[in-house]
């Protein structure tokens, strides 16, 4: 990784640029969430933007862009693979079993009493 002062100050400019991009993308995510996509559009867009942001952070702030050591890359690749396994397989198994057995233990379950937080819209958001 570059060590000279000139390189570092070049980096600093890059960091500021990435910051601007991250801030911008945050606003884009929020705006996108207000738009009404059909179906899973929301999820795809939000995760896509989060993915871009995460990539920027990892590549620039965490210096992966300049990282050449295989001993850092290979564990990360492994980790990414197992991460995907962990994210997908349990849900797939659960979905498959539910397709096989859609009914629950009971035919009807008495509706639970609503928790006492009516008027709990404490934040200004909605």
């Amino acid at each position: 990784m570059a060590d000279s002062h000139a390189d570092i100050s070049k980096h600093v400019k890059l960091y500021i640029g990435v910051f601007a991009a991250l801030a911008g993308l945050t606003i884009v995510t929020v705006l996108a969430s207000q738009v009404d996509f059909s179906g899973p559009g929301h999820v795809v867009v939000a995760l896509l933007i989060a993915g871009i942001k995460a990539t920027l952070v990892a590549a620039v702030f965490m210096h992966l862009k300049w990282e050449r050591s295989g001993w850092i890359w290979w564990p990360l690749v492994l980790c990414a693979f197992f991460f995907v396994v962990l994210m997908t397989l349990p849900t797939l198994v659960a979905t498959e079993s539910r397709d096989r057995a859609p009914a629950g233990t009971w035919d009807t379950i008495p509706v639970r009493e609503a928790p006492a937080h009516s008027g709990g819209n404490a934040e200004s958001g909605h």
Partner: protein
């Protein structure tokens, strides 16, 4: 801290809060051996109830108190607690700390020619966190309702609605997981960064490879269980319902979590997160054991390990595959056809590298010159024992035959053959093998042989009957096997198994005697009593702080035995070839 300050270290810094990997290794070793013995004692109690269900436990029954032994008879709750604690203690407090914490810590840096672990303070921290976890586990016996009693797999909703002991169990597990995570980071960095000059990856002894793969397994598989532990703790303490579906009725009343009825969770989720760890955990238990056995076999056949590279590749492949087979523990939860086929297939695939390693170790005997000393006896018996354990895994990995065998004693027999006469024999082998390095003295061969033969018979007597009663359909975790009429004809073998376990207990006495006597009165030996080639034997016994008198340089592979016309039949890694 510079070199000359070492002599000023107080007793406490030197032996208690030490950051020397060797002292930490010994601390791990002693603690874990104690836990191992304690966990075994729990099993001896359980075997009484199995052999003589409902009968008063002689002497001890009265001593253990009315709460768990009303009238001297064990209660089912206590039986279940014993089951949980036996499993947890043996795996997480006994075997893994011995293989990784003790042997890994002590031997691995020596084998790679390093002065210490990369992060010595982290190393110390991981030992003390481990000890805390152990203490929490032990303390849980004294909370109201006793220790955790929902199985070592802690399946919710049972575990969520269980007594306080379960909370302690989770907290203990979080400690143990954290300790293992810190340790694994340390191990990988040490192996990557601190290898001696000339010690390339393919000149590493197989034991170091096995530790490296193990550390990766711990690093990536343990966090999901930690997450699952946090979620279960939330379910128990905060009243959430991560693992509780809607409409749960416990004891005829709708379950209320927090202020509202439970709902929205999925009990199977825990099983996924749990087995995501617990299957790799199996390889955490077996890989370092294979590493130890590999070392000892190469040394005592006086020839190189056959197929060193295939063995290394197999263990890496084994480690990798172990992450994607976990759901074969869950075939009968109602999994559909396609995903169970996926997991069955990966399970069949993972058996191949195990076969490769085992074959390579056996072929290594061919054309050797086999010395039958005590470590070698243990290492050799590891092979058939592990073979039985591995082969009996096949019917469990195929979903169809698993239907009948799932949750029977067959499963117990299978994994005990892998870890008890398998891994624990490897541990004994390692103790006898590296004892001279740690103390400068040898353990008695005579007592060692008595220990070996009695243990071998005891182990097989204990676990072989389990296959027979398991095939006959006797289910595991049963407090009283006689509660089923179908088990009436099986009680003889159950008793035989119990008596073998108690004999196995007796068989450990020579070992304990040998161990402590040899520390003070064992035969003094040179730095390299086994005439071995790997780096740890080039250091003095016991190695001083900083390990090596001169920084070692490595010139060749790890197992250069009988390879050329030298006077000795071994060629240590650090010796330069004569011109």
């Amino acid at each position: 801290m510079s070199h000359d300050e070492h002599h000023e270290l107080s007793f406490i810094r030197k032996y208690v809060f030490s950051i020397d990997h060797k002292v930490i290794g010994i601390q791990y070793g002693i603690t874990a051996l104690c836990f191992l013995f304690f966990g075994f004692c729990l099993m001896m109690l359980m075997r009484w109830q199995l052999a003589y269900p409902g009968q008063e436990l002689p002497v001890l029954g009265k001593l253990l108190g009315e709460e768990f032994f009303p009238g001297g008879v064990m209660t089912p709750d206590f039986y279940n607690s014993l089951g949980v604690m036996h499993g947890t203690i043996m795996i997480f407090l006994g075997v893994v700390p011995l293989l990784v914490g003790a042997f890994g810590n002590y031997v691995m840096p020596l084998q790679i020619g390093a002065p210490d672990m990369s992060f010595p303070k982290l190393n110390m921290a991981s030992y003390w966190i481990y000890l805390c976890g152990g203490c929490v586990m032990l303390a849980s016996f004294f909370v109201p309702g006793g220790a955790a009693n929902s199985g070592w797999t802690a399946y919710p909703p049972l575990s969520v609605t269980a007594t306080t002991g379960q909370t302690w169990w989770i907290i203990g597990m979080v400690f143990l997981i954290t300790s293992s995570l810190l340790g694994s980071v340390n191990f990988i960095v040490t192996i990557v960064q601190l290898r001696a000059k000339g010690l390339t990856m393919f000149r590493l002894p197989f034991f170091v490879w096995s530790q490296l793969v193990t550390a990766f397994l711990l690093l990536l598989a343990f966090p999901p269980l930690e997450a699952a532990g946090v979620l279960q703790l939330a379910d128990r303490v905060l009243g959430t319902s991560f693992f509780l579906p809607e409409g749960l009725v416990i004891s005829g009343q709708q379950l209320v979590q927090g202020a509202v009825p439970s709902g929205g969770g999925n009990p199977i989720l825990w099983q996924h997160l749990f087995w995501f760890l617990a299957h790799p955990e199996v390889y955490v238990l077996i890989l370092p054991a294979m590493g130890i056995v590999g070392e000892i076999i190469a040394n005592n056949t006086r020839k190189p390990l056959w197929g060193y590279r295939p063995i290394v590749y197999s263990s890496i492949f084994l480690g990798f595959m172990s992450f994607i087979v976990w759901a074969h523990h869950m075939f009968i939860t109602g999994m559909g056809t396609s995903l169970s086929m996926f997991f069955a297939t990966t399970t069949m695939i993972i058996s191949i590298p195990s076969v490769v390693i085992l074959t390579a170790l056996v072929i290594s005997l061919y054309k050797g010159s086999i010395r039958f000393n005590v470590p070698m006896l243990f290492a050799l018996s590891f092979l058939p024992m592990f073979a039985i354990g591995g082969l009996t895994g096949l019917p469990l990995g195929l979903p169809a035959s698993d239907i009948h065998l799932h949750d029977t004693y067959y499963v117990i027999g299978h994994f005990h053959y892998v870890v008890a006469p398998g891994t624990i024999f490897a541990i004994f082998a390692g103790v006898y093998y590296w004892f001279p390095k740690v103390t400068g003295r040898r353990m008695s061969e005579g007592l060692g042989k008595i220990h070996f033969w009695l243990s071998l018979i005891g182990m097989n007597g204990a676990f072989m009957p389990m296959f027979f009663v398991g095939i006959a359909g006797m289910l595991r975790r049963g407090y009283d096997p006689a509660a089923y009429a179908a088990n009436e004809n099986l009680l003889g073998m159950v008793k035989m198994s119990s008596w073998s376990v108690w004999m196995l207990g007796v068989a450990q006495l020579p070992f304990i005697l040998n161990f402590f006597m040899s520390i003070v009165a064992g035969k003094k030996v040179s730095a390299n009593p086994w005439e071995a080639t790997t780096l740890e034997w080039s250091a003095p016994s016991p190695p001083p702080h900083g390990n090596f008198e001169a920084v070692p340089v490595v010139y060749r592979g790890p197992y250069e035995y009988s390879t050329d016309d030298r006077k000795d039949d071994f060629f240590p890694q650090h010796l330069q070839a004569e011109a």
